[in-house]
């Protein structure tokens, strides 16, 4: 059988979780990469780590506290932006805050080393039914909101200043998008771990942006690359007994290299001349 891992219940769960993560991460990733906010996923994953540590410390299911953590982290990044702190500095501040809280809480909590490692490096083959339900709820929420405000996200990504002049509530939409990114990070963390979570957001998007396609096709193809990477990565992990998070990310890296080669091989498009001008064609 080609996909051996599907013969096992845990393999099916891993595939479902993986596909949700692949689609949410890669579709959000195109917007984030184009807006030069790739690091926000890294920042929020470390904020989520603080939330997980709080869960381990308090006995609450860690992914629930991680959700609370990333929402607070998103508000923090947005609030620092309002105080005119540069976006990269705001992300770095929340990154450090989440990590520091996580380290302190883990240092005062007994016997959590294994749990912490599973969140740091991901345990997609060990995800349970609760993780799957949470992934489905968060994944459907993220994709639904993404589609609901699709034209607004596109407008803000293309030109936030023009979107603001047009009357779109840019600031509120940016906050919602940051929260969506945080929720996606929480779901993805279980798959590839805190340390690699941003790679699923950044790499498929960066790979497909190179191919110079229209916006919608870029997002769809990034989703396609991520889905293929998750399936291939899981199969490689199962076949060679290697860490699934690492194998999935390495497959995305291979896709990125392949896309870079294809992009270089694409023929240069000559600049087309404009036929006619406003003076001749304008008939309003």
């Amino acid at each position: 059988m080609v996909l051996e891992f599907l013969s096992y219940q845990f393999g099916v769960r891993a595939l479902i979780g993986g596909l949700i993560v692949a689609i949410t991460c890669s579709s959000l990733g195109v917007f984030l990469v184009l807006r030069r906010l790739s690091l926000i996923a890294d920042g929020l994953s470390h904020v989520a780590f603080g939330g997980i540590a709080l869960g381990l410390f308090s006995g609450i299911y860690p992914l629930y506290t991680a959700v609370v953590g990333v929402v607070l982290g998103s508000l923090g990044i947005h609030g620092l932006g309002k105080l005119r702190v540069a976006s990269d500095a705001a992300i770095a501040i929340m990154f450090a805050t989440g990590l520091a809280i996580g380290i302190i809480l883990i240092s005062v909590t007994q016997n959590v080393a294994v749990d912490v490692l599973s969140f740091l490096f991901g345990t997609i083959l060990g995800i349970n039914q609760t993780d799957i339900y949470l992934a489905i709820v968060l994944g459907v929420t993220v994709i639904s909101i993404l589609l609901l405000f699709w034209k607004e996200w596109v407008a803000i990504t293309i030109d936030a200043e023009f979107a603001r002049v047009s009357g779109l509530p840019v600031s509120a939409l940016e906050l919602v998008f940051t929260i969506l990114t945080g929720l996606t990070v929480v779901v993805a963390m279980r798959l590839v771990g805190v340390l690699l979570v941003s790679s699923l957001i950044v790499i498929p998007a960066s790979a497909m942006i190179q191919l110079k396609m229209p916006f919608r096709k870029t997002v769809l193809s990034a989703c396609g690359i991520a889905v293929v990477s998750v399936i291939a990565g899981l199969q490689l992990s199962f076949a060679y007994d290697i860490a699934p998070g690492g194998s999935i990310v390495l497959v995305t890296i291979c896709c990125f290299i392949l896309a870079a080669i294809v992009a270089r091989l694409l023929p240069k498009i000559p600049k087309k001349s404009v036929q006619g001008s406003w003076d001749h064609q304008c008939n309003r």
């Binding site: 002049v165 779109l168 110079k212 396609m213 916006f215 036929q275 406003w278």
Partner: protein, 254 residues
Amino acid sequence: MSLTPTGNEQVCLTMNNVWFAYGANTILEDVSLSIRQEEIVGIAGPNGSGKSTLMKIMVGLLKPDKGTVSFTCHIGECEGMYPCRPCIGYVPQNPMIRQERFPVTTREIVEMGTFGQIGLFRRMNSDTRKAVDNAIAEAGLGNVQHELFSDLSGGQQQRTLIARALVGSPHIIALDEPTNGVDAQSKQEFYSLVSHLNKVHRITVLMILHDLPDLAAHVERVIFLQRKIIYDGPSANLNAEGLWDLMVRAGKIT
């Protein structure tokens, strides 16, 4: 030297005693002006003189610390409203989409000009698609509408951004340094376009310009800023030397 509108000229934008500062740094100081319908107005001044800030206040991107801005748009429901979104189209100086490989087509950019009027939760309908088709056709961009914006020439990119600003049928268009990075031929085409929009479509044009000859040749009225308005008058009364004197008085201009 301020130009005050006469009785039969309809004012479409008024700024009264506008002040603006970034922290302790005052950018605009007691600026008052009126823009009349169908004028072509050039805004000039040295770097840091407040030109872009003034334009951002006009289009509603920044709110004045003190003073008032009002539109008289003559379409009823937004009389006196600020910012009056349907009244004014904006062409920013250097949007991020100019970067290479930004995956967005010419058409997708023009479509964006309709989003504010469509509103949240709604999609483009046949009317808005038709408006986009018309704007693309009028701008002569039909043969490149599915090309990436970053693959277009500087002149074509400028036309695309102007088409986006005009797709919602505003009666004022504000352009922030529209001729930056545009070659001589495209610049000439741009000024023909401005003249056409103004004469045929009766659109009021506000643009920030640096070139002295361009100000003298293509603009009816010049507002020269250095935190406050130091000249507001017809460009026809000023030869290049006169403008140069103004620039020297205001400090170095680039």
